[in-house]
C-alpha cells in the first residue's frame, strides 16, 4: 500500500480531474441530446404505456417483429 501511495502521489494526476469533468459533461450532454431528438418521441410514447397494460406486449421481442419497433 505504501509503495502504491508513493507512486500515485508522484504521478501528478491532478489534470485528470479536468478530463473526468469533460467526460461527465459529455455524457450528460449526450443524454440530453438523445432526449430532445424528435424522432424518439414515438418510442417514448409507447414506453409510457407499458405499466398500464398487464396483458399486451408493446414491442414483442422476437425476430418477426423487429421491424415493428420503428
Amino acid at each position: 500500500m505504501r509503495g502504491l501511495s508513493d507512486a500515485v502521489g508522484a504521478a501528478n494526476l491532478s489534470s485528470y480531474a479536468v478530463i473526468a469533468m469533460v467526460l461527465f459533461i459529455a455524457a450528460f450532454g449526450g443524454i440530453i441530446a438523445y432526449l430532445l431528438l424528435r424522432r424518439n418521441r414515438q418510442v417514448f410514447d409507447r414506453a409510457r404505456q407499458m405499466p398500464l397494460d398487464d396483458e399486451q406486449v408493446q414491442t414483442p421481442r422476437n425476430a418477426e417483429n423487429n421491424g415493428a419497433a420503428q
Partner: protein, 755 residues
C-alpha cells in the same frame, strides 16, 4: 404471418409474502423507534428501575436495531414486493425461478431475525447502518446474489423488447447496493461475531459515508422511484407525465448521487476538497430530484378528482411531495455553512424522518393498499379506515418533523451561543439536552400516531385477507414467444443512407450517433445497460475515494500518535458494543464554540489506528474526542454506574453491568492480532503479551480508583477497560513527540529556538 404464442402466469405468491413481511417488520421497527423516543423523553422511566438491568434495552443497542429494521426489513421487503410484482408485468414474464424466489424471501427474513437477535446483544461493527457482523454480511451478499440472478434472469427471458424506466431504477439499485455492501464491510474477523474494519480513521469514515449516503440513494430512493414510475401511473390509470424526464431523472441520479456522501463529514478531519466536492454534487442533486417529483405529480393531471376519493393516490401524492421536500432539504443541509449548524443535531433526525416516514413509508402504504385487493382478489375491507390511516399518519409526520426541526435548531444555536463576556452561554452540555425534552414528547406523539396508522393498515389487511378468493385465480397471459437466440433490433436507415449520399462511411456512423439510436440499443440490451450503470457508479466512486486512500498528504501523520494499548482496545470494543457512537461524537470541529467547549479540534492524523472510526453523527451527549484526562478515573466509574450521580439531569442510560461483568482477558490477544493484521504497527511486546500488558494496566487504574474511595474490585471488570480507553481519547497530541537528540538541541540553540 403467424406468430408462435407463449402462455405464462405471474408469481404473486412471493409478492404476497413480501407484502406481509413488510407490514410485520415495519410495525416491529417502528415500535422499537417508539421505545427509543420514550427513552429520550422520559429517561427516568428507564433508569433506577428494573428496566435498567436489561442491557439489551439501552438506547445504544436498540437504535441500530431500529435503523436496520426500518431500512432493510421494512423498506427492503417493500422494495422486493414492488420489484417482484412490477418486473413480471413490465417484462411479461414470470420470475426466472420459483426456487430462487423462495430462497430470496426466506433468506432475507432469516437475516432480519439474526439482526434482531445480535444487535440488542451488542454484536456490532460499530458503523451506522452497517452494524451487522461479518457472518450476517456474508449471508446478505449471498441472498443478494440469489436476488440478482432471479431478477436479471427474468430480464433475460422477457417478452417485451424495451425495458421500462422502473426496471432501470431496479437495475441500478441491485448493482450499486452490491458494490456498497461489499466495500464497506471489508473486515478482519476476530472470532465469530467480532471484527475490525480494514480501513481506519478518515478512510473508514469516507468509506462509511459513501456507503451510508448511497444506502439512502439506492435502497431508499431509486427502488422507490421505480415503484413510483410503475404504481403511480397504475393507480391513476394514466401514463407517466414525461418519459423523457424520467430518463433524465434516472441518469442524473445515477451520475450524481454517488458523489454526494462526503457531505456527512463537513468540518471533520476529512480533506476539505472531498467535502466541497460532496457539497457541490449534493446541490446539483436538487434539480433532477425535483424533476422526478414534478414528473410524478403531473402524472395526476386531469385525475386530481380521484385523489379526493382514492386513499392510494392520497398516499402517493403526499409521498412524492415529501420526496420533493427531503430532496430540497438535503442539498440545503449539505451546504457547509448550514451544515455547521445542523450537523450533530436533531435537524438530521427531522430530515431523515421526513424522507423515511413521508416518502418511503407513504409510497409503501400506497403500494400496499393498491396491491392488497389484487393480491387477495377481494375488495379492500374498508376504504374509510385507509383514509383514516392516511390522515393519522400525515399528522404524525408533521408533529415528528416540526418538533425535531425545532429541537435541532434550538440545540445547534445553544451550542454556539456566547455571552457578552465572550464565554459559552451554555457551558453545561446537559442544559442543551434538557431544553429538548418537551420536543421529545411531541416527537413521541407523532411517532405513536404514525404507528397507529400502520396498525390500522394491518387490521384492514387482515380483514381483506379473510375475504380472499379461495383458491386464488391464476390468470394465464399470452405473448409472442421468445426466440431461442437474441436478435438485436436492426439499425434504422439514416437520411444519408436513404439518399445514397456520396459520403464516407464515417459520416453515416456520425449521423447514427447523432440520431441517438445508441440509447435505444442500450435499453434493449440489459446486460450492456447494467454494465454502463456499474461503470457510472464505480468510476465516480473511484475518482472520489482513491485519492483519499492513496495520497499521503490527505492524512498527515503525527509522530506522537501511537496505537491503543491492549486494555484500551478492549475498552474501545466495549464502547462499540454499547453503541456509544449513537449519542457521542469523537470529532471536535474547528469552530470557536467547539474548541471552547471540548478543546483542540480533531486532526486526521489522530485517527489512523481507529478501526473502525467512531466519529458519530449525532450528539445527544457531548463530544468525547478530548475527554481523555479531563476527569479522574473514579469519575468515569461513578458516571457509568449512574450518570445522574455526576451529571444531574443527564438522560444517559446507566451501565451498572460494566462494574459486574468480568473482562474477557483471554480474548485480548486475538483482538490485538486481528488489529495488527489491519496494519496497526504493534510492538513485539503487544503481539506476544497482550494479556499481561492489559492486566498490568488494569491494576494501575483499579488501584487509583480504590485509593480515591471507589469500588475495590474493578481490576478484572469491563469498566476498567472502558475507563482506560476513555482516558486515552485525544491525548496523544498533547504528548511531546520523541525528545530531540542533543545534537538537534544544540542546533536549535544556535538558531535561537527554544529547547
Amino acid at each position: 404471418m403467424s406468430t408462435q404464442v407463449d402462455q405464462f402466469k405471474y408469481d404473486d405468491k412471493t409478492v404476497r409474502a413480501f407484502v406481509v413481511a413488510t407490514m410485520v417488520w415495519g410495525a416491529v421497527g417502528m415500535l422499537v423507534g417508539i421505545i427509543l423516543a420514550l427513552q429520550l423523553a422520559a429517561a427516568e422511566l428507564f433508569y433506577d428501575t428494573w428496566l435498567n438491568d436489561l442491557p439489551w434495552l439501552t438506547f445504544g443497542r436498540l437504535r441500530p436495531l431500529h435503523t436496520n429494521a426500518v431500512i432493510f426489513a421494512f423498506a427492503g421487503n417493500a422494495v422486493f414486493a414492488a420489484v417482484y410484482y412490477s418486473s413480471q408485468r413490465l417484462l411479461k414474464a414470470r420470475m426466472f425461478s420459483d426456487l430462487l424466489s423462495r430462497l430470496h424471501f426466506w433468506g432475507w427474513q432469516l437475516i432480519i431475525v439474526s439482526a434482531a437477535i445480535t444487535l440488542p446483544l451488542g454484536f456490532t461493527q460499530g458503523k451506522e447502518y452497517a452494524e451487522l457482523e461479518w457472518p450476517i454480511d456474508i449471508a446478505i451478499a449471498l441472498v443478494w446474489v440469489v436476488f440478482a440472478i432471479n431478477f436479471f434472469g427474468t430480464i433475460a427471458k422477457r417478452r417485451e423488447r424495451h425495458i421500462y424506466v422502473a426496471i432501470w431504477f431496479y437495475i441500478a439499485s441491485v448493482i450499486t447496493v452490491a458494490v456498497l455492501h461489499i466495500f464497506n464491510n471489508l473486515v478482519i474477523p476476530s472470532g465469530i461475531l467480532k471484527s475490525y474494519s480494514l480501513y481506519s480513521g478518515v478512510q473508514d469514515a469516507f468509506m462509511q459515508w459513501w456507503y451510508g449516503h448511497n444506502a439512502v440513494a439506492f435502497v431508499l430512493t431509486t427502488p422507490f422511484l421505480g415503484m413510483m414510475y410503475y404504481f403511480l401511473p397504475k393507480a391513476a390509470n394514466r401514463p407517466v407525465f414525461s418519459y423523457r424526464l424520467s430518463i433524465l431523472h434516472f441518469w442524473t441520479l445515477v451520475f450524481i448521487y454517488i458523489w454526494a456522501g462526503p457531505h456527512h463529514l463537513h468540518y471533520t478531519s476529512l480533506p476539505s476538497w472531498a467535502s466541497t466536492l460532496g457539497m457541490l454534487f449534493s446541490v446539483m442533486l436538487w434539480m433532477p430530484s425535483w424533476g422526478g417529483m414534478i414528473n410524478g405529480l403531473l402524472t395526476l393531471r386531469g385525475a386530481w378528482h380521484k385523489v379526493a376519493e382514492e386513499p392510494v393516490l392520497k398516499f402517493f401524492v403526499v409521498g412524492v411531495t415529501f420526496y420533493g421536500m427531503s430532496t430540497f432539504e438535503g442539498p440545503m443541509m449539505s451546504v457547509k455553512s448550514v451544515n455547521a449548524l445542523s450537523h450533530y443535531t436533531d435537524w438530521n433526525i427531522a430530515h431523515v424522518h421526513g424522507g423515511a416516514l413521508g416518502w418511503v413509508g407513504f409510497m409503501t402504504f400506497g403500494m400496499i393498499y393498491w396491491l392488497v385487493p389484487r393480491l387477495f382478489q377481494a375488495e379492500l375491507y374498508s376504504k374509510k379506515l385507509a383514509t383514516t390511516h392516511f390522515w393519522v399518519g400525515t399528522i404524525g409526520i408533521v408533529l415528528y418533523v416540526v418538533s425535531m426541526w425545532t429541537a435541532g435548531i434550538t440545540q445547534g444555536l445553544m451550542w454556539r451561543a456566547f455571552d457578552e463576556t465572550g464565554r459559552l452561554a451554555y457551558p453545561d452540555f446537559v442544559e442543551t439536552v434538557l431544553k429538548l425534552v418537551p420536543m421529545y414528547w411531541v416527537r413521541l406523539l407523532g411517532g405513536l400516531m404514525y404507528l397507529t396508522g400502520v396498525l390500522l393498515m394491518g387490521w384492514n389487511m387482515l380483514k381483506t385477507w379473510q375475504r380472499r378468493k379461495r383458491p386464488y385465480d391464476e390468470p394465464i397471459f399470452e405473448a409472442p414467444a421468445l426466440e431461442g437466440r437474441y436478435v438485436p433490433e436492426p439499425m434504422p436507415q439514416t437520411p444519408l443512407e436513404r439518399d445514397h449520399a456520396p459520403v464516407a462511411g464515417n459520416a453515416i456512423k456520425l449521423q447514427r450517433l447523432w440520431m441517438g439510436f445508441w440509447h435505444r440499443r442500450l435499453e434493449g440490451l440489459p446486460l450492456t445497460f447494467s454494465v454502463w450503470v456499474a461503470i457510472a457508479v464505480i468510476v465516480a466512486s473511484l475518482f472520489e475515494i482513491v485519492p483519499t486512500f492513496l495520497l499521503d498528504s490527505n492524512v498527515p501523520r503525527i509522530a506522537s500518535v501511537k496505537p491503543y494499548t491492549p486494555l484500551e482496545v478492549m475498552g474501545r470494543d466495549i464502547y462499540i458494543k454499547e453503541g456509544c457512537y449513537n449519542c457521542h461524537s469523537q470529532m471536535v470541529r474547528p469552530f470557536l464554540a467547539e474548541t471552547e467547549r471540548y478543546g483542540e479540534y480533531s486532526k486526521a492524523g489522530e485517527f489512523i489506528y481507529d478501526h473502525p472510526f467512531q466519529w458519530g453523527s449525532r450528539r445527544i451527549g457531548p463530544d468525547l474526542h478530548r475527554v481523555g484526562g479531563k476527569y479522574p478515573h473514579l469519575w468515569h466509574v461513578r458516571h457509568m454506574e449512574n450518570p445522574r450521580s455526576t451529571t444531574p439531569g443527564s438522560i444517559m442510560p446507566s451501565f451498572p453491568w460494566l462494574l459486574k461483568d468480568k473482562l474477557e482477558f483471554s480474548k485480548i490477544q486475538g483482538r490485538v492480532d486481528a488489529l495488527a493484521l489491519t496494519g496497526v504497527p504493534y510492538s513485539d511486546k503487544a503481539i506476544n503479551g497482550a494479556e499481561q500488558s492489559a492486566r498490568a494496566q488494569a491494576q494501575l487504574i483499579a488501584a487509583d480508583v480504590a485509593k480515591n474511595g471507589g469500588p475495590k474490585d474493578i481490576a478484572d471488570k469491563d469498566i476498567v477497560a472502558l475507563v482506560a480507553y476513555l482516558q486515552r481519547l485525544g491525548t496523544d497530541i498533547k504528548l511531546k513527540a520523541e525528545a530531540p537528540t542533543p545534537d538537534a538541541q544544540k542546533a536549535m540553540a544556535q538558531l535561537g529556538g527554544k529547547k
